[in-house]
């Protein structure tokens, strides 16, 4: 019991820290800023590729191709001074730095706000960030060796291959799924002996597995876990290299609840249920179960489940929502106070959002993840209908719509919403009072 309280306490701290950092320092006062004229930018370059917007909405960027065939990044209308043979995968870090994968002289690297890492590679991809944006990691290749690069520095371990990368919230841990043992072509026996493992901060786990999938890191960054495959049809979850004693027909990605408790969907006799540190904790045997998520204090668990073939819904603490959906239900989101749960649902090829089991009446061509207000009373989401984009609040689409919209963010006090949108070819950052969205 003490352990549990401690765990829950730890979760609370982590969550509090995380939520305090989002949006606190952003400008919630200026009602409207015209950040960039995309039409003007499009006119200026031979080509302008897909645009991306920073979390705070202050910057909009796109790879641009100049008339002489070179690439660079254009941020709020300003181009980076350096030109590249190729530039793509523009990503803003959570703290607003713009990163890109760039190619010069047939060598690839990452450019951060226009500055290239010194190390160059045959190829580099999959830029990942810590929650504060201080750590930038990626996978890379050099002369057939596979590498992990963290803030421009290459790990000393080289690998036969890498697949998948995870960075802890605080950035102190970087984990990668790596192939540690080379495998001859069509060597089906060597394969069964296990050639894959996880490397954490440049150090491999002691043990190899047939497969390792989807690493996850505890909130405090101390523990790393992943799905592992032990035999042809034998799976479990390993934490810090140590597999659970229990074996299952299949497992899906684990997720830490607090820093000690690890939960994963597991398949037992053809049905799925939820296991915590190897022990089954839900009685329900579902046709499918995945995307287990926890309330901020860790006391409640929600997951996507299928109670009957072709029927999908959410189970909260092993209790099903009444209504099921035929197409899909995506990952559940808890409100900050842990009272409510929302998820994207899809039926007859129409998308909408369901909150506490009740779907919005309006349906859309596409919806993005639901966002709860800080008090948990309101839910907003980006939606797409008839080729136009807008924000829906508690099931009703705003009367204004746009050529493009990015996912909305609530102000810390919950009275305003940050709306990043493109209107008549111009990109605006707007802070909209919640009442206006209702109108």
């Amino acid at each position: 019991m003490d352990d549990l309280m401690e765990t829950l306490g730890a979760i609370k701290t982590t969550v509090a820290v995380n939520s305090a950092s989002v949006g606190d320092t952003w400008d919630w006062e200026t009602a409207e800023k015209r950040i960039a004229d995309l039409l003007e930018i499009r006119g200026r370059f031979a080509e302008v590729h897909e645009v991306t917007v920073s979390a705070d909405g202050e910057k909009i960027a796109a790879p641009v191709k100049t008339d002489d065939g070179n690439f660079t990044a254009c941020v709020n209308g300003e181009v980076w001074p350096e030109m590249f043979e190729l530039l793509w995968y523009l990503k803003f870090s959570p703290d607003g730095k713009l990163t890109a994968l760039t190619k010069s002289d047939d060598q690839w690297t990452i450019a951060v706000d226009g500055e290239c890492w010194e190390e160059k590679f045959e190829y580099i991809w999959n830029t990942q960030f810590s929650a504060d944006g201080k750590v930038i990691a990626a996978q890379a290749k050099r002369e057939m060796d596979y590498l992990i690069v963290v803030n421009g520095a290459v790990w000393s371990n080289i690998f036969v291959s890498t697949r998948g990368l995870a960075v802890s919230n605080d950035g102190r841990k970087v984990a990668a799924v790596v192939q540690a043992v080379p495998l001859k072509e069509a060597d089906i026996f060597g394969f069964l002996e296990g050639t894959w493992t996880l490397a954490v901060n440049d150090k491999k786990w002691d043990r190899n597995f047939i497969n390792v999938y989807r690493p996850t890191i505890s909130p405090d960054g101390r523990h790393v876990a992943a799905e592992v495959r032990l035999d042809i049809c034998e799976y479990t979850v390993a934490t810090d290299g140590e597999p659970w004693q229990q074996r299952f027909g299949c497992v899906w990605e684990p997720l830490f609840r607090g820093n000690q408790s690890l939960l994963a969907p597991v398949r037992v006799d053809g049905n799925w249920t939820l296991a915590e540190n190897g022990r089954l904790i839900w009685k329900g045997a579902y046709n499918q179960l995945w995307y287990q998520r926890f309330s901020p204090d860790g006391s409640r668990i929600a997951a996507v489940v299928s109670p009957a073939f072709g029927k999908w819904t959410i189970a909260v603490d092993d209790k099903l929502w009444k209504k099921t959906y035929n197409d899909a239900v995506l990952e559940p989101f808890f409100s900050p106070d842990g009272r409510r749960v929302a998820a994207i649902v899809k039926d007859q090829n129409r998308w909408t959002i369901a909150v506490d089991g009740i779907p919005w009446t309006e349906t859309f061509d596409m919806v993005w993840n639901p966002v709860f207000s800080p008090d948990g009373n309101d839910v907003i989401a980006k939606v797409n209908k008839n080729g136009r984009f807008t924000i829906a609040l508690n099931g009703r689409a705003w009367r204004r719509d746009f050529e493009a919209v990015w996912e909305p963010v609530f102000s810390p006090d919950g009275t305003k919403v940050l709306v990043k949108a493109v209107e008549d070819g111009k990109y605006y950052r707007r802070v909209v009072p919640i009442q206006e969205l209702m109108g």
Binding site: N287, A308, F309, G310
Partner: protein
């Protein structure tokens, strides 16, 4: 022997047959639930569409590829099913025992139908012996099953024609008839029960899931 066959055996046979069929159907539904996809995939529309194409002679390509087999199998199955139900002699017995009766086949026609069943059975045996692809998957049980089906028809036919050993034949007829009834739920003769379901399931999978024909 005759008294037993005329009395308890009929009841036993009917009970075993009905009970057995019920049991096999309940078992099938349970197994179908365990086989998660079966019930959700079932579609009346496509199931019946498929059934229709396979209970109408020559409505499927495979039936057209085997015209003789198609004719024989339809005649055989129709006669096999109808003759015992609408036979005058059986009707008389039902009238005596339970006070129910219905329209009867003219005896000449009943004879022809009985012969058709026997001829069909012989055709099937011949097919098993002659065609390599059938012989290859035939074992003693296949002949035994044909024998079980033919026996009541042969004995009944001999008895009705009163060619010889009438009383023995009647008793044999009753026993073999009972045996066949009882064998239906518990042998491959259960295709009588399952045909509709396997056919409709396949029709559903082809039609509803795969948007294709299955005939």
């Amino acid at each position: 022997m005759y008294e037993f066959a005329r009395g308890p055996l009929v009841w036993i046979a009917l009970l075993v047959f009905a009970g057995g069929c019920l049991y096999r159907l309940v078992w099938m539904v349970r197994a179908a639930k365990q086989d998660k996809v079966v019930i959700p995939y079932m579609s009346w529309k496509y199931g019946l569409r498929s059934l229709l194409h396979w209970i109408v002679p020559f409505a499927s390509r495979n039936m057209r590829l085997h015209p003789v087999m198609t004719v024989v199998t339809f005649v055989f199955h129709i006669c096999l099913l109808l003759t015992p139900i609408f036979l005058l002699a059986h009707n008389v017995l039902w009238q005596q025992s339970w006070g129910v009766s219905w329209w009867s086949l003219p005896s000449r026609l009943a004879d022809v139908m009985t012969v058709a069943v026997m001829a069909g059975g012989i055709f099937f045996i011949g097919r098993r012996l002659r065609l390599p692809e059938v012989r290859n998957v035939t074992d003693y049980s296949d002949y035994l099953l044909i024998a079980v089906v033919l026996a009541p028809f042969v004995t009944g036919f001999i008895a009705s024609q009163q060619w010889f050993a009438y009383r023995t034949m009647v008793i044999l007829h009753m026993w073999t008839g009972a045996l066949m009834l009882m064998a239906i739920p518990f042998t491959r003769l259960s295709h009588m029960l399952y045909f509709i379901f396997t056919r409709m399931y396949m029709g559903s999978e082809f039609g509803a899931v795969r948007n294709a024909k299955d005939w």
